[in-house]
Amino acid sequence: MDFEDELAENLKTEQLLSEEDCLKIQEYNRTKLFSLNLELRTLLYTGVLLATTGLGIAVYKNIDTIGHDVIIGLIAVLCSLCFVYCFRKRTAYTNQMVSSPDAFFDYILLSGCILFLTLEGYLQYQHHIFGERYGIATLIPALLFFPLAYLFDHKGVLSMAITALCAWVGITVTPLDLLTKNDFSGFRFIYAALTIGILLSMAAFLTDRRDIKKHFSFTYLNFAANMMFVAALSGIFSMDFSLIYLVMLAGLVYYFIRHARKEKSFYFFLIAVIYGYIGITWEIFYLLFQLEMDYYPIAFFGFSYLIVSSFYLIKFLKQYKKILGTE
């Protein structure tokens, strides 16, 4: 006998479940269907991906005979087909969360957005439609994707819109590139990241306050938090003992822990703690090395600091229920 059926029986004898519920559970377990939803959908998308990759390679190899404009036209047609599908299938807009109309909707919407980016890049590469004004080229996707994200209620598109906005300001914020492609030492990066971060946190705040697509606020704030923390840290890393950035970091840590308490969000609590820890640890080791002592006392203090600080941070993190007020 299945464990769940057995449990249902036992709970029945303990008066926690009625005869009816017990039968309902056993009936459910007996007739439960084996769903291949995820598997089949993955296969389908893999197939689409393979076929389009193959098509892309074929086109690339035969570009001389086909011609660029034909391909641009083809991408444009595909892109508009995606968007037309989304517009026809969409549910009416509300300020609340809307679930997607069918299983393929999300993917078609995303494909449409990606095709749009490809189309734009292709046009710029081939025909230089924007000339040297790269700003416009990066602003257009942002201007398109923000309304689309709200219209179709899609967090992925919202993330793309935010990324495009950041690109417009002149930095790459795709998660993998954030740490490798930016010039951290420049003030330009720090200011740009801070500006965007503040803008996005305001967006998150308004989203919550006005109750417009409340579930978007996490996406906004997540981008904002990471950008601002990285900006503060890069300030700390690149400048000599820089009190301003340390104060900034402290302010950010305070703000996000407060936010975490309000929203009962462990995620923001943890990133605030970790970013703060990185900043403080960096400064402490920086100051240690400034002292120009022998390696032995430096290493001794360093290791002691790491042991003691981790010990207290573990104690601190374990108090999260008290701190976040979930208990």
Binding site: L33, S35, L38, E39, L43, G54, S265, F303, Y320
Partner: protein
């Protein structure tokens, strides 16, 4: 055997089942709350972010502790290995103590202490055996594996950790590989079949144990080993792997036109095994076998293509893509009405959504259950001893 409080683990399992029943709409919120109050557990699902944070700082502390010990004792290389082994033992003792005294179960600290312990002991032993002859050879690896294997088994059994279980299995394969290799020419020839046999035996053993209800605490470990054993079973007789491994480890040199011994058997097995997995997976409604079968079938096709370029890459991509789309589309259409208990409908949807939201929205505190008769029972998360179940 298991270090954790079995009663609490049982109750945690019951709580999770009650949650599932509630999500599926089989019982009311009130009933779920009642069940949870009846079966209290000191353990609870830890917030994944908390787990990451605690594990991170545990790791930093342990590394700094090693640094500190080395600093105090001096950096002489005669110490290195010993220090690591000592810290490993220390980690283990700490782990035992924290599990015994506290309500830690998959909590971040206990996970990380276990991994640190195992990692340091392997590292320490490697340094010690390397020091002995300044030449790291197969016998050293065999020695380290032979010592590590029982530790990994003990770790898996006591702390029900799936990663150490998989490592233990891989460690065992490594030992067998090194021992069979010692048999010389015969060993090299029979190696794929030995690996195949061992994988198969482990697979049978693991699936057998999994059926036993009393082994529920290790269910996830067994499932992990089952998955890996299915993969190694295939790897041991995949044509590409056999051929390249023979060249790499046994110095096999093939002249043009030559092929590895028993090539035909490997060609057949390369495709036959994924097909068997898929068929068995569909027939027994076993997701592990089905998924691995599909992935391995793709690898089988790649294996053939690696040695025989019949069609160009783009044609192959388009063709396989088209076949996949046609196949999955037609199966989806067919399964819209359930066939032999298999459906395309998303029966796990509520759960998947809950999981995705847990990751994305980071609000993993779960739905607040109404606690109607919370009288002196210590509540949902209250410690033990109050519910009469102990």
């Amino acid at each position: 055997m298991i270090a954790y409080n079995k009663n609490w683990l049982d109750n945690l399992r019951i709580q999770n089942i009650a949650d599932k029943w509630y999500r599926k709409g089989l019982i009311s919120q009130l009933q779920a709350g009642n069940i949870k109050n009846q079966f209290t557990s000191g353990y609870k699902e830890t917030n994944p972010f908390l787990r990451i944070g605690l594990a991170l700082f545990t790791f930093i502390a342990s590394v700094a502790a090693i640094g500190m010990i080395l600093l105090v004792w001096g950096f002489g290389d005669s110490w290195f290995g010993t220090v690591f082994v000592c810290v490993a033992v220390l980690c283990w003792i700490l782990l035992e103590l924290s599990v015994k005294d506290n309500k830690y179960f998959s909590h971040g600290i206990d996970d990380m202490l276990l991994y640190c312990s195992v990692f340091y002991i392997v590292l320490g032993l490697s340094i010690l055996s390397w020091r002995n002859n300044y030449d790291f050879n197969a016998n050293d690896i065999l020695f380290i594996s032979l010592v590590t294997f029982p530790i990994l088994i003990l770790a898996s059994v006591r702390f029900a950790d799936s990663i150490t279980s998989v490592l233990a299995y891989i460690c065992m394969l490594l030992i067998i590989f090194l021992l069979v290799e010692k048999a010389g020419e015969i060993g090299k020839t029979v190696m794929p079949f030995v690996m195949l046999l061992v994988s198969f035996l482990v697979y049978r053993l693991v699936t057998g144990i999994k059926k036993n209800g009393h082994m529920y605490y290790w269910h996830h470990c067994l499932a992990a080993v089952e998955t890996v054993s299915l993969i190694t079973l295939y790897a041991s007789c995949n044509y590409f792997i056999v051929r390249e491994a023979s060249a790499e480890f046994f110095g096999l040199v093939l002249k043009p036109g030559q092929d590895i011994p028993l090539a035909l058997i490997f060609y057949v097995l390369t495709l036959a095994i994924p097909v068997v997995y898929i068929v068995l997976g569909v027939r027994n409604k076993d997701r592990i076998r089905l998924r691995i079968g599909v992935i391995l079938a793709a690898l089988a096709v790649l294996t053939y293509r690696y040695y025989y370029h019949i069609i160009s890459t783009e044609i192959a991509l388009m063709l396989s893509g088209a076949i996949l789309v046609l196949f999955s589309w037609s199966v989806i259409q067919k399964l819209k009405t359930p066939w032999r208990g298999i459906t395309f409908e998303d029966t796990e949807k509520d759960m998947a959504v809950a999981e995705a939201e847990g990751l994305l929205i980071a609000q993993t505190f779960g739905p607040q259950v109404v606690k109607p008769n919370e009288i002196g029972g210590g509540g949902q998360f209250g410690g033990g001893g109050a519910s009469g179940k102990f």
